[in-house]
């Protein structure tokens, strides 16, 4: 048999890659084998363009129990327990079918976590959509938010936080990144390994249909008009079945039955089985006739590449098959032996008695192509980095405009649709700098946040990506938490473009500097490339989910002013960067310009330590960090929650815009009622403390140039997103 060039390309392979496969194999692959190679060598499965960069990430530390490479990472949190977490993208499926795409994204990340033996206790999500004026934005936003809620609420995991923004660069390619965190005992973490020659390979969960065939290769394709008609690839989620799968898996994991277990995600049965064999240094034989089918007439190709949801593959200990089946039957789920482990490092599949695949595991996994794509700083960047000469003539009006803008308005419309309290352990839900959840059965509390200011990354990737980590660490500090570890989701355009490859490389370097400085090793993550439409790439978006731990007994402060009569101060150096890369500047001139604010690592770390100390000593009752939108937006947020006024003076230069709306790092607002300035200054040491003023009255009045009624700001801030999203045109059946 031989394949035409078009057929080869349709499997996502270049002709060179195909030649490499034929050479490695010593023969021409079968049709099913060709599909398998295409999927396993896709960017999504093989990380062929990103592996060289990922190798530079900071991934180690004494707290790390399981680093990158498994279904999720695990970090020690004390009392013999680990937090198991990961973030993953579901961008392309969500663009095609927002509800199901987002829902199955949540389902996939939850499976990654409970595959490891961890019961999920929290989820977050990071979303990017096109500008509000774009005709698809409203539809995508509604569908994605409903899908995330639909899956997470039913499964029963609280969605405690997230991140949302809008930019024209995402007009034709939204981002949906889902994060999940679970808890497991360190000595009962399960890995995705196939070992023990002769051990049975068991398929558990939902039946296989033709859903999502070629999802992995699709995720590695640039969108074009034809994609809108890419219909057979839509996967439908069944959160109810996944909840049963969770309970069955965790029940089985109490016993000594399982050698290894792995969820079936991208490239389904193929990828799960190959990865398990690769980690175990073994081979596998799978009898495809045994795979439970949902439809008739399915071929080996379909079984191998289907991305039907809510399925897992496990390798059982010898003789444990009946016990596995019994536990799954209790939860009304199938468990079927479909093969066994071998020692020849070959991945084989049989169908109707014939061997339809016999591929060396190495060829599919470690020996997949690897590229160091050329990187080049784009010449256009220099011009973008020039700050245009603009004045701020009416700061009050600008503040209102920012607070009602797509990126500055209140996110409550989103999180009201997510059950953020199921599990009865949410100490701080969405709305603050970081969420805080209790670890069931212990006094341990974990904080988590997900962040990425892509505008900053665009304008100088290394600095911007470092800033992402600084911001994440700062958000953790603002609830009194010390960093533990992080996960990342690297969303970029086509790595075949030199400027995009450069953004990726620089971003990884920036993340690495930040992760080392703030002790946030990356323990898991995901790369999503080829996010582009009509030839233009998305903003470089290295999304980061960071997790920290609270000291025992610490009272979590609020991120808003509870009442009048509080003294308000900002900790950290006065702003000096100006308006470069700020939301205000983008809003004012209609494009992203300037350079992002730099991060002073030691000042930032000192600030976080001071904030944690103030919280631990219960000296402040409000803590909120200053970042996007500058100090004016941060103070307004503090005022709006309980409609409390403030009259005050902010630190900084004569430049009104830079002082009020500049986005310098290293600043946190605090407020206290019963402490005194001197005591606060003593705890803060070298970290500057600037008292802004006292809360009270109906207005937010700053520097004599802003004077706005808080209640008016509040209403406008809270209604903006709802008004946009629920426009009557958005209703769908």
């Amino acid at each position: 048999m031989s394949f035409s060039d078009d057929v080869i390309r349709a499997q996502g392979l270049t002709l060179d890659e195909y030649a490499q496969a034929v050479e490695g194999l010593g023969r021409v692959p079968t049709w099913a084998e060709l599909g398998v190679i295409g999927a396993m060598w896709s960017e999504h499965c093989s990380y062929k363009s990103s592996r060289v960069h990922l190798a530079r990430l900071h991934t180690t530390g004494p707290q790390v129990a399981v680093g990158p490479g498994e279904n999720a990472g695990a970090v020690r949190i004390g009392q013999g327990l680990c937090a198991v977490f990961k973030m993953e993208s579901h961008n392309h499926p969500s663009y095609i079918e927002p509800y199901q795409g987002a829902a199955t994204g949540v389902g996939g990340i939850l499976r990654d976590v409970f595959t490891m033996g961890a019961r999920p206790i929290a989820a977050m999500n990071a979303l990017r959509f096109g500008r509000w004026e774009h005709p698809k934005t409203r539809h995508l936003l509604n569908g994605v938010v409903a899908g995330i809620g639909g899956y997470g609420n039913c499964f029963g995991v609280p969605t405690v936080g997230g991140n949302l923004s809008f930019h024209t660069a995402y007009d034709g390619n939204c981002l949906v990144n889902a994060f999940a965190l679970g808890i497991a005992a360190e000595d009962r973490i399960f890995l995705g390994t196939a070992s023990g020659v002769g051990n049975p390979v068991v398929y558990v969960g939902a039946k296989t249909g033709r859903d999502g065939i070629h999802g992995a290769t699709m995720a590695s394709d640039v969108f074009d008009d034809a994609t809108a008609d890419n219909r057979p690839t839509v996967q439908v989620g069944d959160p109810f079945r996944e909840k049963l799968l969770l309970e069955a898996c965790l029940e089985l994991m109490q016993e000594d039955c399982i050698v290894g277990i792995q969820d079936m995600g991208a490239a389904g049965l193929t990828s799960a089985s190959v990865e398990m064999a690769s980690r175990g240094g073994t081979g596998l034989v799978l009898n495809l006739d045994c795979v439970p089918a949902r439809e008739s007439g399915m071929t080996p190709y379909d079984f191998l590449l289907s991305e039907s949801q809510e399925r897992m593959l496990l390798v059982a200990k010898p003789g444990m098959e009946p016990r596995v089946a019994e536990v799954f039957a209790k939860w009304d789920l199938d468990a079927v032996v479909i093969g066994h482990v071998t020692d020849d490092s070959v991945w084989r599949c049989t169908w109707h008695g014939d061997e339809v695949c016999a591929l060396p595991v190495g060829l599919l996994a470690d020996d997949a192509p690897k590229y160091h794509r050329p990187c080049e700083r784009p010449e256009s960047l220099a011009a973008m980095q020039v700050v245009p000469d603009v004045r701020c003539s009416d700061p009050g009006a600008d503040l209102l405009a920012l607070l009602t803008s797509p990126d500055g308005c209140h996110r409550g419309w989103v999180w009201r649709q997510y059950d953020h309290e199921v599990g009865a352990g949410t100490v701080a839900g969405p709305g603050g700098d970081a969420a805080v959840v209790e670890v069931p059965g212990t006094d341990i509390r974990l904080a988590m946040t997900v962040d990425c200011t892509a505008r900053h990354v665009l304008l100088e990737p290394k600095v911007g990506a470092l800033g992402v980590i600084a911001e994440a660490a700062r958000n953790l500090a603002c609830v009194g938490a010390t960093p533990l570890a992080a996960t990342d989701c690297l969303n970029f355009g086509s790595p075949e473009r030199t400027d995009v490859a450069w953004q990726l490389s620089e971003s990884v370097d920036g993340l690495t500097i930040g992760c080392k400085a703030f002790d946030l090793p990356i323990i898991s993550g995901n790369v999503s490339l080829y996010n582009a439409s009509a030839g233009s790439a998305i903003l470089p978006t290295p999304m980061v989910g960071a997790v920290g731990k609270l000291a025992p007994g610490v009272v979590v402060p609020r991120s808003a002013f509870p009442r009048a009569g509080m003294t308000v101060a900002v900790l950290g150096r006065p702003p000096s960067h100006g308006v470069g890369a700020s939301l205000w500047l983008t809003h004012t001139v209609g494009r992203d310009a300037g350079t992002p604010p730099p991060v002073d690592l030691s000042a930032e770390n000192a600030l976080h330590a001071a904030v944690r100390a103030l919280i631990a000593q219960e000296m402040v009752s409000t803590v909120h960090d200053v970042f996007e939108g500058g100090i004016a937006v941060a103070l307004a947020e503090c005022c709006m929650a309980e409609t409390v006024g403030l009259v005050g003076t902010t630190p900084g230069s004569e430049d009104v815009a830079g002082r009020l709306f500049g986005e310098d790092h290293g600043r946190v607002i605090v407020a206290w009622e019963h402490s005194d300035d001197a005591a606060i200054r003593r705890v803060c040491g070298d970290v500057p403390v600037h008292v802004i003023g006292t809360t009270g009255g109906d207005h937010l009045a700053l520097d004599g140039v802003v004077n706005v009624r808080v209640s008016a700001l509040r209403v406008a801030h809270r209604n903006a997103l709802k008004t946009f999203a629920e426009d009557v045109h958005a209703v769908s059946g």
């Binding site: 426009d727 009557v728 045109h729 958005a730 209703v731 769908s732 059946g733």
Partner: protein
């Protein structure tokens, strides 16, 4: 043998989805829509053709419709 059970909200029970869709259609420029009501349809494939009308009616009573809020019709094709 296939039977179809159509379940509609009883008159007088608020149908917010129907209202929202009527608004949505108007918003999209569709004129002359007086009202929209949303119901469910169950397509039931059966092994055999015995007593289908009666059996499926029983299924609807037992499970598919809630008599407090819904009416149903059965059609066999």
């Amino acid at each position: 043998m296939t039977a179809f059970v159509t379940v509609m909200l009883r008159p007088g029970i608020l149908d917010p989805q129907g209202l929202a869709i009527a608004d949505g259609l108007a918003g999209l420029g569709h004129k002359g829509v007086q009202s929209v009501r949303v119901g469910k349809v169950f397509e039931i494939a059966l092994d055999d053709a015995d007593n289908v009308q009666e059996r499926v009616t029983q299924m609807a009573k037992d499970l598919l419709a809630n008599p407090v809020i819904e009416d149903f019709t059965v059609e066999v094709r």
